[in-house]
C-alpha cells in the first residue's frame, strides 16, 4: 500500500496532517486537563452553582429549539405550499433575521423596551400610560429565548423550505389527491418526512445558542458560557474554566450524536436534476391575509423593527460616533477578518485537496476534523487556545530571550496571532464546506486528465484545480469573513489589550449603557451580513434554475 504514498501527494498529506494537529490542539488541551485535580473554586461551583448553569442552559436550549422549530417549519410550510400576496418576497426575506447577530438584537430590544425607550416614552406621552416595568423586562431567560428564537429560526426555515420544495412535491401532491387537507398533510406527512431536515436546522440553532455569550451576559443569565468567562476573567482559574468547558463540550457532542441518529443515513441534500416544484394552493380573502400577516409579523419583530430602531439611533449619534477612531475599528475588523479568512481558505484548500485525492480513511477523517471547530462554542475554543498558547510561551521563553533580553514571558499569548488562530479553528468549516463543494462539483476528471498529460499533483493544483473552483474559493472567503466580523465571544476573550473591533465596540457601548451609540457599528455588521445573504440566496438560487 505504501506505493501509493510515493508522490506529490505525500507533501500534501504532511502539510494537511500538521494543520489537523493544530486544529486539534486546543480541544485536546481541554480533554487532557479536564480531570486535573479539583480546587476550591470548582468544589464551590459544583456544590452551589453547577445546577443553575445546567438548568439555565438546558432551559434556554430546549425552549429556543421548540420555538425555532415552530416558527421555522410553520413559515416554511406556508411559504412553500400556499400562494398569497408577497409570497416570493417573504420567501427570501424571512432569511434576513440571520443578518442580525443575537447580541445586537438583544441590545436593540433592551433599548427599545426600556423606560426611556421609544415604546414606553410614546405610551407615556400619548396616553399617559405608566407600564409596570415587570411586564417589559426582556432581560430574563424568557427574553433570551425570545431573542434567540426570533433571530435564529431562519436556520430551520431555510433547510426545511428547501427540503419541502425540492424533495417532497410528489408526496404532498399524492396526499392531496388522496383527499387529505393541507393541515393533516402538514402533521401526518410533512413533519415526519422532513424531521431530518428540521433537526439539522435545529441543531445549528442550538449550537449558536451554546456559542452565545453576548446575549446571556447582557441579560445577566448564568449559563455555561458566562460561567467559563467568569472563571477565567474574574477568578483567573484556568482549571475550573477547563472543567466547565469539558462539560459544555460533552453537551455539544451529545447534540451532534442525536442529530446523527435522527438523520440516519439520509442526507437531506436534494438531487439537483429534475426537481419539480410543488403546485401551490392559491389563497384568497381572509386566508391570504392570515398567511401574509403571519409572515409580516414575524419579519417585523425579527428584522424591520430592530433595523428601524437602529437607524433612528444612528441618526441621533452619528456625529458623536464617526471619528478617526471609528475608522480604526473598522480597519481592525477588516484586517483580522481578512487575514483569518485568507488563512482559512489556504488551510481549507490544502486539506480539501488532499482528502479528495486520496479518498482513503485518513483523508475522510481530516475532512471531518476540519469542520469540527464550528460546533465547539467560542468560550471552549478560547480557553483551549489560551492554555495552549501559554504553554507554548513557557516552552519558547528561552528563544524570546535570545532575540530580546528584555522580552516578557507572554509573547504569543498576548499577540493578535492567538485571536486569528482561534478564528481559523472556529470558522475553518465555513471555508472548507464551500471549497469541498467546489471540488465535488468539478469532479476529478480534469485532475486526472492533467495527471495523464504529465503534471504532478501540485502542478495540477495550481494550473487546473485552483482556477476551476475559484468561485467557491471566493464564496468561502466571503462567508468566513462575515462570520468573523460578527463574532463576539472569541474576540472578547482573546483580543490583545486595547484592541477593539466593530463587534467588541458594540458590546462595550451596550455594557456602558450607551445602546444608541452601538447602533452604527451594529448597522455596519448587519449590512455586511445582509449583502452576503442577498448574494447567496438571490444569486445562487438563480443559478440553480
Amino acid at each position: 500500500m505504501f506505493r501509493h504514498w510515493r508522490s506529490g501527494v505525500t507533501v500534501w498529506g504532511i502539510i494537511s496532517g500538521m494543520l489537523i494537529l493544530f486544529i486539534l490542539f486546543p480541544s485536546s488541551t481541554i480533554i487532557g486537563n479536564v480531570f486535573n485535580e479539583t480546587n476550591e473554586n470548582w468544589l464551590h461551583i459544583k456544590q452551589y452553582l453547577l445546577k443553575e448553569y445546567i438548568s439555565n442552559t438546558i432551559l434556554i436550549v430546549v425552549s429556543t429549539g421548540v420555538f425555532s422549530v415552530i416558527l421555522g417549519t410553520g413559515l416554511a410550510w406556508v411559504v412553500s405550499v400556499y400562494n398569497f400576496p408577497f409570497r416570493s418576497f417573504f420567501k427570501w426575506a424571512l432569511i434576513l433575521p440571520l443578518a442580525i447577530p443575537p447580541y445586537i438584537a438583544a441590545y436593540t430590544y433592551t433599548g427599545l423596551l426600556s423606560y426611556t425607550g421609544l415604546i414606553q416614552t410614546f405610551l407615556r406621552n400619548a396616553f399617559s400610560l405608566q407600564i409596570n416595568q415587570k411586564h417589559v423586562n426582556i432581560m430574563s431567560i424568557e427574553g433570551a429565548v425570545a431573542i434567540f428564537s426570533l433571530f435564529l429560526f431562519p436556520y430551520v426555515y431555510t433547510i426545511t423550505r428547501v427540503f419541502l420544495e425540492k424533495q417532497s412535491a410528489s408526496l404532498i401532491e399524492n396526499s392531496r389527491v388522496l383527499g387529505k387537507s393541507p393541515t393533516v398533510i402538514f402533521f401526518r406527512v410533512v413533519l415526519p418526512l422532513s424531521r431530518a431536515a428540521i433537526f439539522g436546522g435545529t441543531s445549528l440553532v442550538i449550537l449558536e445558542v451554546l456559542n452565545d455569550y453576548g446575549v446571556v451576559q447582557y441579560f445577566g443569565i448564568t449559563t455555561f458560557s458566562t460561567a467559563i468567562f467568569k472563571a477565567w476573567f474574574a477568578l483567573g482559574d484556568v482549571d475550573t474554566a477547563i472543567k466547565l468547558s469539558g462539560l459544555l463540550m460533552s453537551m455539544v457532542i451529545l447534540i451532534l450524536i442525536i442529530e446523527k441518529l435522527f438523520r440516519g443515513r439520509k442526507k437531506f441534500s436534494y438531487t439537483t436534476t429534475k426537481v419539480r416544484p410543488i403546485a401551490r394552493i392559491q389563497l384568497k380573502g381572509v386566508k391570504a391575509l392570515v398567511a401574509f400577516g403571519c409572515c409580516f409579523v414575524v419579519l417585523c419583530f425579527s428584522f424591520l423593527i430592530p433595523i428601524l430602531q437602529l437607524f433612528h439611533w444612528a441618526l441621533l449619534t452619528y456625529q458623536k460616533i464617526l471619528d478617526p477612531e471609528f475608522l480604526g475599528l473598522m480597519l481592525n475588523s477588516v484586517i483580522v477578518a481578512g487575514t483569518a479568512s485568507l488563512l482559512i481558505i489556504i488551510a481549507a484548500l490544502i486539506i480539501g485537496n488532499y482528502s479528495r485525492i486520496t479518498e482513503n480513511f485518513i483523508g475522510k477523517a481530516y475532512s471531518k476534523i476540519a469542520v469540527l471547530g464550528y460546533s465547539i462554542p467560542g468560550s471552549v475554543i478560547s480557553i483551549g487556545i489560551i492554555v495552549f498558547f501559554v504553554a507554548m510561551d513557557n516552552r519558547f521563553f528561552w528563544l524570546y530571550k535570545i532575540f530580546d533580553p528584555e522580552s516578557s514571558k507572554l509573547v504569543l499569548s498576548s499577540s493578535i496571532a492567538m485571536l486569528i488562530f482561534a478564528y481559523v479553528i472556529r470558522f475553518l468549516a465555513v471555508g472548507f464546506n464551500s471549497i469541498e463543494a467546489g471540488f465535488e462539483k468539478v469532479g476529478k476528471k480534469f485532475f486526472e486528465a492533467s495527471r495523464t498529460l504529465g503534471m504532478t499533483v501540485t502542478q495540477t493544483f495550481f494550473r487546473i484545480d485552483l482556477i476551476m473552483i475559484r468561485q467557491t474559493i471566493l464564496a468561502g472567503f466571503v462567508l468566513a469573513f462575515i462570520d468573523i466580523m460578527k463574532e463576539l465571544p472569541l474576540t472578547l476573550i482573546l483580543r490583545p489589550f486595547n484592541f477593539d473591533t466593530l463587534a467588541t465596540k458594540v458590546y462595550q457601548y451596550a455594557s456602558d449603557e450607551m445602546i444608541p451609540e452601538a447602533s452604527i457599528p451594529s448597522l455596519l455588521i448587519i449590512a455586511v451580513s445582509f449583502m452576503a445573504i442577498y448574494f447567496f440566496h438571490k444569486v445562487v438560487e438563480r443559478e440553480d434554475k
Binding site: R3, H4, R6, S7, K445, F446, E448, T452, L453, M455
Partner: protein, 212 residues
C-alpha cells in the same frame, strides 16, 4: 512486447468483490486493440490501471519494457508517458483549444510548442480552431481536441475510454473511420474501450472480449 499486462487484479475499497481478476494482455507496437465488454465488466478500470489512476491489488504492467506497476513499484501517472482520452473528454473549460493541446508540452520553447499545436490541429482536421473555447465546439470536434491533446506529448500508448458513447449515432460511422485514420497516421499503440462490437470491429486490429 510493447505493452505487457500480467495477473492484474483490482477491487474497489468498499466492496469485497474484485472488478478484475487475473487479467493478462500483450500488445505489439503500433497495434490498435479494442477491449470489448458490457458495462461493469471492468474494462474502463483496466485503462485507469494502465494510466496509473488506480492502484492494482496485484499484477504487473510493463510499457516499453519498463515496469510501471508491480508489487514494489508504482510510477505516478504523470511519469508513465501514457495518453488518455476520457469518455467525456475532460477538456479544460478555462483554456482555449490551443492551450488545451499545449497543456502537456513541457521542456519546449514557445516556438516549438506553437509548431506542435499547429501540427496536432492539422492531424485532427481542426486547423484554425486554436483560439476557440471547448464549449464553442461540437461533440465530435471536442473529441478530436481531446485526441490531439493526448497525442501532443508523444505518449508511448494511447488509451481511449468509450470514444463513441457521447456522439450521435449517424456521426459514428464517419468518426470511426476518421479516428482509425488519425491513429494509423500517428502510428501509435492504442487501447480502445467500448461496449459496441461494431465500433470495435471498425477501428481495432484485434479485439479482446472482457467477460466478467
Amino acid at each position: 512486447m510493447y505493452v505487457e499486462i500480467a495477473g492484474l487484479a483490482f477491487g474497489y475499497k468498499n466492496s469485497n468483490e474484485k472488478v478484475i481478476k487475473d487479467f493478462n494482455l500483450q500488445i505489439q507496437q503500433g497495434e490498435i486493440i479494442s477491449l470489448l465488454g458490457i458495462s461493469g465488466s471492468g474494462k474502463s478500470t483496466v485503462l485507469r490501471l494502465i494510466a496509473g489512476l488506480e492502484v492494482p491489488e496485484s499484477g504487473l504492467i510493463k510499457i516499453q519494457n519498463r515496469v510501471v506497476v508491480d508489487s514494489s513499484t508504482f510510477i505516478q501517472p504523470e511519469d508513465r508517458g501514457v495518453g488518455m482520452v476520457f469518455q467525456d473528454y475532460a477538456l479544460f473549460p478555462h483554456l482555449t483549444v490551443g492551450k488545451n493541446i499545449e497543456f502537456g508540452l513541457v521542456k519546449m520553447s514557445r516556438k516549438e510548442k506553437g509548431k506542435k499545436v499547429a501540427e496536432m490541429l492539422e492531424l485532427v482536421n481542426l486547423r484554425g480552431y486554436g483560439h476557440r473555447y471547448p464549449y464553442e465546439l461540437s461533440g465530435g470536434q471536442q473529441q478530436r481536441v481531446a485526441l490531439a491533446r493526448a497525442l501532443a506529448p508523444s505518449p508511448s500508448v494511447l488509451l481511449l475510454d468509450e470514444p463513441f458513447s457521447n456522439l450521435d449515432k449517424d456521426l459514428q460511422v464517419k468518426i470511426r473511420t476518421e479516428l482509425k485514420n488519425i491513429l494509423k497516421s500517428a502510428g501509435i499503440t492504442t487501447i480502445i474501450v467500448t461496449h459496441d462490437r461494431d465500433d470495435a470491429e471498425a477501428v481495432a486490429d484485434r479485439i479482446i472480449v472482457i467477460e466478467q
